[in-house]
Structure formats: C-alpha cells, structure tokens
Subunit: 394 residues, 2 copies
Amino acid sequence: MGLVNGFNSFRLIQSCPHTKARAGELLTPHGVVQTPVFLPVASQGAIKTLTPEEVKAVGMSMVLANTYHLYLRPGIGVIDKLGGLHKFMGWDRALLTDSGGYQIFSLAPLRRVDDEGVNFRSHIDGSEHYITPELVIQFQETLGADIIMVLDECPAYGDSLEKVKEAMERTHRWAERCQKAQKRHAQALYAIVQGGIFPELRRQSAEYLTSLGFPGYAIGGLSLGEPKKVTLAMIEETVAQLPEDKPRYLMGVGSPEDIVEGVARGCDIFDSALPTRVARNGALFTWQGRRNIHNAVYSQLDEPIVPDCNCYTCRNFSAAYLHHLFNSGELLAYRLATIHNLSFISSLINKIRGAILNGTFPSFKDKFLGGYQPANEELRLSQKQKWLKSRFKP
Amino acid sequence: MGLVNGFNSFRLIQSCPHTKARAGELLTPHGVVQTPVFLPVASQGAIKTLTPEEVKAVGMSMVLANTYHLYLRPGIGVIDKLGGLHKFMGWDRALLTDSGGYQIFSLAPLRRVDDEGVNFRSHIDGSEHYITPELVIQFQETLGADIIMVLDECPAYGDSLEKVKEAMERTHRWAERCQKAQKRHAQALYAIVQGGIFPELRRQSAEYLTSLGFPGYAIGGLSLGEPKKVTLAMIEETVAQLPEDKPRYLMGVGSPEDIVEGVARGCDIFDSALPTRVARNGALFTWQGRRNIHNAVYSQLDEPIVPDCNCYTCRNFSAAYLHHLFNSGELLAYRLATIHNLSFISSLINKIRGAILNGTFPSFKDKFLGGYQPANEELRLSQKQKWLKSRFKP
C-alpha cells in the first residue's frame, strides 16, 4: 500500500558493514540523485546569493524550498500561473518542498492548532491563515517538487512528554490524511517521524508511520537546541525502526560533523541552511573546522582559504581579498563564501560516498572527525537558542 | 612632451560627420578597448554583487576602481603585497583608477586643502590622512591600473566663480606635479579639466592642460546637481578646446540618455555607479526608460523585463521572479538586476559604436532619445542632491 513508483524509487547500492552508513540513489522525475545527499535551502525560491547554474556548479543535485514561505510570498497561485516551482526559480534538477509545519510552529506568531488544521498569522504582515493536511498536499502538488512532505506538528525543545506525545499523535493522523489527499503520484510523499527527545515516542512514531507505507521517512523535530548526544541517540532510536529499503531524511542537519554522524547512523538525505547562513557571517569551512574570515590573520594572506580546494572562490581569490570584501560589506563576499561552503559540503559528501562504496567509511569518519574541530558546543547551543528565539518573536 | 607611449595610445577610427561622435580604440597593456566605452565602478575592488567573469560576460572591457577607498581599506601596501590591483581583484582586462580627488572632496569630512596637498579624515574611522599629488601618483603606480588620474580639487555645485577658479588653478598646478612625479610610463596619466559651470573657466582649463600634453583628458566636476542643459553646455565648451587625437573621458556619467548625449558631444570614455546603484534599488533599464520592478504590474508577468534582451537575467528569469526576489529581499535580486543593467549599457554602447561606424549615429540618437523616457529631471535632481548631501555628511 506504499506510494512508491518508478519515477520516485530508492535503490540501495552498498551498506557499510561496520556502521549503518549506506550509499544509494534516488530516481526522481528530474534525474538520479546519489545518496547520501545534502540539500541546500532555497526558502524563498532561491539559494541565497546564487544562481541555479552556480548551485549546480558547486555539485548540488537537489535543493529544498519552503512551502510556508512561498505560500505567503509570492503565493502558490502565482507560481502555478508561472508554470510551477521548477520553472519559476529556473531549477531543472530534483527539488523537495517541506510542508510548512516546522515554519508555522517556529516562525509564525499566534498559531492555534486543533485536529483539523492550524490557524496562524503571517510573520510578514500579520495576516491570518488556516491550513490543513489536505491543503498542504494541494499546495505541494501545485508547486510540483519531486519529493513532498506531510504536515507535521513540531514541538519545541523542552516541551513535556505529554505535549510531545499529543503532537506526535496528531502528526500521525495528519500523515494518513496527507497520504489519502495525494493525487499526483509522480511526487514521492515522505512521512515525518516526531517524538521529541523521548526514545519510546521516537520508536512508536517510526513504527506507526512505517506501517502506513511511505516511499521515504524523515526524522523531524531534532537540532532544536538539545545537546548533540541526545540528537544522535534519537536518530539511532528512530532509524532502528525504519525499513532498510526506504530513504531516511534527517531534517535540518547540518554541519559537516553532523552530516558524517548522521550518515554513520543510517541517514541518506540532509538539508540545512547552516552552510549558507554561516557563510554570510564569514565562517568558512576547512578540513580543520570553521574559520572566521574577519580574523586579522587573513588580512594579508596571499593564498586561498583552503589551498587545495577546487571551488571557484579558492581557485580565483586570496583569503586577503575575501577578508577585504567582508570588511567592506561588499555583497560579492557573501556569494564567494556561499560558493566555498557549499562546495566543501559537496566535496565532503563525495568523500563519504566514495568511502562507503570502497568499504573504508569507518576510517574515513575517524580521520575526518579527528581532524575537524567542531564549533564549541556551548557556544553553538547558545547561538542556536538565540537564533531560534529571534525566529519565535512575533 | 606628452607621455603617450605604444602601450597606451588612442587611435581614432571614425568620426560622425554631423555630430562630434567618434569611434576609436585604446591600446592598453591589458588589451584593446573599443571606444566609446563605459566603465562600471568597482569602488572597493569589486563591481558590487558580480564576479570578474560576470563583468566580462556582460561585455565590459574596462572597469574603474577608487584609489581613495582602496587606500583606506585594505591599504595600498596590502594590495602591493598581494601583487597589485589586477591580481587582487581577479580582473585581467583594462583598469582605470581615479586619483581620489573627487572622493576626498565629497566623502571625507573635515578636509583642509592648501597648495601642497589635502588633509582629510577617513569617512570610515575618522583617522587623519594627508595626501599630495606625488603621493597619489605613487599610490596609483603601486595599484598598477592601465589608466591613472591626476589629483584634482573638485568644487561643489553652487560654489562662487572665485572659489571655482582657485580650485581650477590648483588643479592645474597639481596636474603638472603629477606629470613630473610619474615614473611608470606603461600607465597613461590623464589630466582632469575643471571650471565648474563657468564657460570661460572650462575653456581656460582645457587649453592649459592641453598645453602640458597628456595622453588623455577627463572632464571632471560635472553631474553634481546642475541642470542637465548646463552639463551639456560645459561638455561642449570643454571638448572644443581638447585635441582631436586624444581620448576624452566624461567622469561620473552615467545614465543611458547622458551617455548618448556625451558621445554626440565628442566624449569617448564614461564611468558611473548609476547603472549598478539603481539596479540594486530595482530600477531596470528598458529601451523605453527605467522600470521599477517593485511595481505590482510585474508580480505575475511571465516574461523577461526586456523580452528581446540577451542578458543572463532576461534569458533565464521572468519579471515575476525578479519582482518576487526584490520583494523578499533575496540577495540574488541585486545580482540579476545588476547583470541586466550592465548588459543594457553594453548593448547601448555597441549600438552607438555601430551607428558611428556606419554613418547613422544622428538617426540612431534621435530614435533612441525619442523612445527613451528619462527619469523626470526635477525628481532626478532632488534625488541626486539628497544623495550628494548624504555623502557630504561627516
């Protein structure tokens, strides 16, 4: 009773014998996507600062767009009139839209949820809106992405077990309604496992959604401020209950180290605004960790930020030039940093997949994590909480 | 006694028999530049939002960078260490640096000028600086552009004849000192005619500087808020006194209509931040005049802003998508608009040159100006004065 079809199936190619890492491919109406795969975020129909050509040139084969943002602006009807989201944004590779659940529960003020749907106000102009699982499917069918997502209720980190359980059970009922509402089966509809930081809820959610038979399963409600070891434990609990032959999508992750950890725990698909967002703040990925290009050590450095990096930025510009552009507030700075960070993630994903295919993933993982100094966790959490708080502001 | 040399000479190819328009070419150490030519402005070593590849792709063969900005940040010494300005900014075509005169007299607070040089404060951090004609040549020799400019004193629009005359005479003395200070003769040093809106001063200035023998002559101190017919009259007064066989550079111009008028009056080189600045405000050039992409008429328009335009933006995106990007504050908006406006100017310049070469410039000019609705002059002047005022603020 699953909704798998020839256009949107997953093929498992190789599994790591020592970890849960796997290499596979997604067949989509817009091409084959090799997994593991990372999706950069085009919230409003554009990867911030980049053209579609550049997104391809840095090696991305699928991007994510936010139904919530596009619904509010320019409106689903406008994109319909203009020929669908692929045409509107000039992107001809695979595309995933999220359902808007996460944005409604984090960005929109004054929301009221009941079993039928969610009432919320726009974070842009305060206008009132009401959406249901059925509407969310209709919106995503109009947008026309290759992979679409069920509407879920996403509790905040810190919510009680009772509250998280209630949200999970509603998410389950909504997943069924989304499944029934789907009319365009060339799109793959993925379910979203919820359950917060409660292992028994995570297991229940994964089992229940699996019983409904979806072509893919996402892990939602993580990376919301909880300690990293809790995140990883929840991924493990969830993946253990998901079918082997379906793709697993770890939503909202993330950083280079988190992608490696997620792959090791059996996740295939990742998305996050982090690489592009930190790029615009001047944080550039290197194999030793993030570097802050504002730092004076770069002011006269006549070599690229990552000397052996093959990206457009590193092939053409010195760290000193990037430093100057950031210091001067030149818009080109944000582009060059975005190109570098996405190229880095692309290169990381290629290394990961190569290691899985030739059986060396565990040693690759140890070597990478041994050399890569992650952002200090305390700092990371406080930044994340500050960022989440700013988004929750009405 | 002119400083012309084989690397930086000007060749006149064809003159219009009915106007003063001419087609020619500049031979520079970084390639042949066909004239008329428009230089986009890379104030801080980057054309705002664009990579060097994109600047080439829109058809630009020479760009301008500001010595004043680069002197303050990152510093001339840093660019020297990094191999010169061409290498620093990744630009391998022709390059012109201005002297900083205009910026010091418009941007920097608390300036004190005497015959020896100018004392001013940085508009960035208030630090004190002192420059002389000799220093300005030394800076520009270090930066290494193909064309460099003398230090000039640029009076404001509205200054008295006495004040403008004094500034002009100082500009003349400084031009001689710059000429004497020049050591690297692979760079062409252009003089700058001043004289404000006073015809007799314009004539005096052009005659005097011509007697010194420079490889090119700029017309400075215009487009500072005076009525357009005054600007055009001053160009005519000046050009009448300049030698035929040397290039004439109309500084700070400009808009499509002003370029056409400038060419008709014998100018060969133009530079202005206007096309890129108005692009970032959402004003896009069309053959009928500027269009404001924020306007609701574009919200669902499923065709490019200029349907037969061959630029990357028009070939790939609808006006509705651009409208959406501007409305959403997406950084990609500023890039796509910049690409369009520079492509438009490039296309205009090509049409102008073609018309001069095949003897149809007067009819081209009439047809273009007849179809192109310039920005309302009153509005234009009040915007310009507001902008100048904001720049003069300490």
